[in-house]
Symmetry: C2
Subunit: 440 residues, 2 copies
């Protein structure tokens, strides 16, 4: 990028306010000035609001992504010779796919250098889930991260202070200024972190539905296509699946409970919906890498990794490399357990017509599984286990869910709210389609 | 106003972002939280940008004006029994009307409590002009201000720290975030300060043209009608003139030079365009107050104040009450004089077809008459004197302007640029209409 002309920040903001375009050099100047303290927070937020309302085109979004990426450390992982691929989900309720997918892919000939986030809002975070495993350390040095990726094939760590610091500062401002809901800003935020991982390819899981950030398929499609365009403009292989988040994914919500389900998946024992989404995303990764030519080939490779026990073994090695207790894979009882388990029973006989995800996500947060404010500690043991699925016939009094809580009073309150998330009635439940779109 | 519900700032910002309306209570909360330090600068600027792009309706603008007004001291001037009226101009080149109008009106039976601003950008500020008068103190206490208004009939002071502090903080943010150009925000900023003066009536001089903030008549009309609506909603008598600013007003640009012209006006000796705008605005004030029934009556009253010498005498008393040297009224030579006077001559014979105001305003700033940054001191002596007027026939080498500067080199550079502001050619100059619209 050429040196930007010396333009005052107010003029650049005013141009975006007036629906003008900023050059790549001007966007770079904006971010560099911000990080250098020459552009104030209150100028950044005015720009962000103008960008949200008047949009950023692909050139601007690419420049913003690159400027945020280069505000910090960009990993190269030169010693990892395999194709490096990551999966990123836009977030949903019960989404534990990263934890099972990483070791499965590592058994199929690709490397997975994954930098994950924590939960905030109604969705959980992979880091919080992994920390439910006793001892698991999400803060590896860059060199150790590279070694684990090279030797185990997969490593999941947290975003360090060195990765895209501009994104972290800007995201904190967006969170409190109503400027989160902008596709270009979301794209730049996601990709600036993912491009810092040193990956060759990226698979996006864009969730759509009531439990997702994008409530509708058209919105999810807009986000997915923008992520693909800007990701490809950065020289990466990218593909995306839009997957259903109108119902929680799998049978568990809450950190240790979700790890338990992810362990079950790598052992070939998990719920079919989590497995299907995991293998579909894995197939994308394997096709991007060239390891598999077709979705069928990719499926077979992954299934063999599971059936042979190699995926479970790889998960054990990944946990061990992160100083966690690998014995949780063989024995999930080693994961933290909540003091109280309280069953939620069907108030009437009928068919399960709906399981509303957002309500369940919020109950899980109130149980302590997630955060209401950024500084809050999470309780790894608590959460919700679903004991029925969409379309299933239940009798009155059948157990439809189990609340895992730290006190009977909390469990009872949660159980009452939990019941309202289930709609049980007559008639046929709508057939659930898990993979809504594939975009490349 | 009822107590606002406890809504997070981000939600209020997001509502405006999504083109929603905020209640009066919510706007009040926003400003009060801002002043209490609970709403950060970076949240305010995101709100301001959303308000600029998505608009504020009259209810919101009124609430914003009132909230900003009540962030500080609101004067009542209970001892001033006359009708209290002020004139506010949106700013232009050579606009010294406040200085001559205040004493003229004071001689016609109304009181003029005027709180003025400093110059920033291409337009001058009444305070800077008044401070060209040796000793003139623009910082009176509220009680002294009230006494001068009561005893002299007019006082012009600067905005104190106690008047509308929310406006001062918000304006400083708008200035550096591209959020100045919003009619509702401009209206709230102007009126929050004017309503603090304890006035009964307000006359607005909305300038239109190349030397004004509003370049076109439709834009000026939008601002004028918004000011009238919101001013009336605050219980004030309000009327507005849209006046020409496509050419500088009068014959002088620069602080002492403009004071000299204003003194000439109160003595019946000033240029006809400045006189016409002064008397037209004065007529509005006198009609609002009920002192005059018609524009003709108002004109006669003002002309008598000038012709009788009472207006000049009142200006002397106002200056004296502000600890300034009243002898400048009798003898303008007592005003600061620049070291160098350099004549600008017509490069060809012909008719003066255009005098471009913005260029002249910028030259005056470069001479030192105005500020490039808020902290800068102004040089009261320097400026430009125009020695011709629109439509006048000039011979080659005739003096068309005089530069007042502090060095020959600076004067020469200014003179060269100054020449380009004049277009001299053949054909008829467009007839200048000074009062473009009257709005009540």
């Amino acid at each position: 990028l050429s040196t930007a002309p010396s333009l005052s920040p107010a003029l650049l903001i005013a141009r975006k306010r007036d629906r003008g375009r900023l050059s790549a050099a001007e966007i770079t100047t904006l971010i560099q000035s911000f990080m250098a303290g020459q552009l104030a927070d209150y100028q950044m937020t005015a720009f962000l609001m103008a960008a949200l309302l008047n949009g950023l085109d692909d050139t601007e979004t690419t420049a913003l992504t690159q400027a945020m990426l280069h505000s910090g450390e960009v990993l190269r992982l030169p010693s990892v010779k395999r194709y490096k691929v990551d999966k990123h989900s836009t977030g949903g309720i019960g989404d534990k796919v990263s934890i099972c997918l990483a070791p499965i892919l590592a058994c199929c000939g690709v490397a997975v250098p994954m930098i994950s986030g924590r939960g905030l809002g109604h969705t959980g975070g992979t880091l919080d889930k992994l920390e439910a495993i006793p001892g698991y350390d999400t803060k590896l040095s860059s060199s150790r991260f590279e070694r684990v990726v090279r030797e185990v094939g997969a490593s999941i760590i947290g975003q360090t202070a060195e990765i895209a610091p501009a994104d972290r500062r800007i995201y904190a401002l967006r969170d409190v200024t109503g400027t989160v809901e902008s596709i270009p800003l979301i794209v730049a935020s996601i990709l600036s972190k993912k491009l810092a991982e040193g990956i060759d390819g990226l698979v996006l899981d864009v969730k759509a539905g009531r439990g997702a950030f994008m409530k509708t398929l058209p919105d999810a499609r807009r986000l997915a296509t923008a992520l693909i365009r800007i990701g490809k403009a950065a020289g990466k292989d990218v593909s995306a699946l839009i997957t259903d988040m109108d119902t929680p994914l799998g049978k568990t919500i809450g950190n240790a409970l979700e790890v338990k389900e992810a362990i079950a998946i790598v052992k070939g024992e998990g719920p079919s919906d989590t497995l299907e989404v995991t293998l579909a995303l894995g197939a994308e990764a394997l096709r991007l890498s060239g390891v598999a030519k077709t979705a069928g080939d990719a499926r077979r490779l992954q299934q063999r990794a599971i059936d042979s026990g190699r995926a479970a073994e790889c998960l054990e090695r990944m946990i061990a490399a992160h100083r966690g207790d690998p014995r949780v894979v063989a024995n999930s009882q080693r994961l933290p357990q909540a003091k109280v388990q309280l069953e939620v029973r069907a108030p009437r006989a009928g068919r399960v017509l709906d399981i509303e995800p957002m309500q369940l996500g919020l109950i899980a947060i109130d149980l302590g599984a997630g955060r209401k404010v950024a500084e809050q500690a999470v309780d790894h043991a608590v959460g919700i286990e679903l004991c029925c699925e969409l379309g299933q016939a239940v009798g009155k009094g059948d157990v439809i869910a189990t609340i895992h809580a730290q006190s009977k009073a909390i469990a009872r309150a949660a159980a009452e709210r939990c019941e309202a998330a289930f709609r049980i009635g007559s008639g046929a439940a709508p057939k659930r389609k898990l993979i809504l779109r594939r975009l490349t």
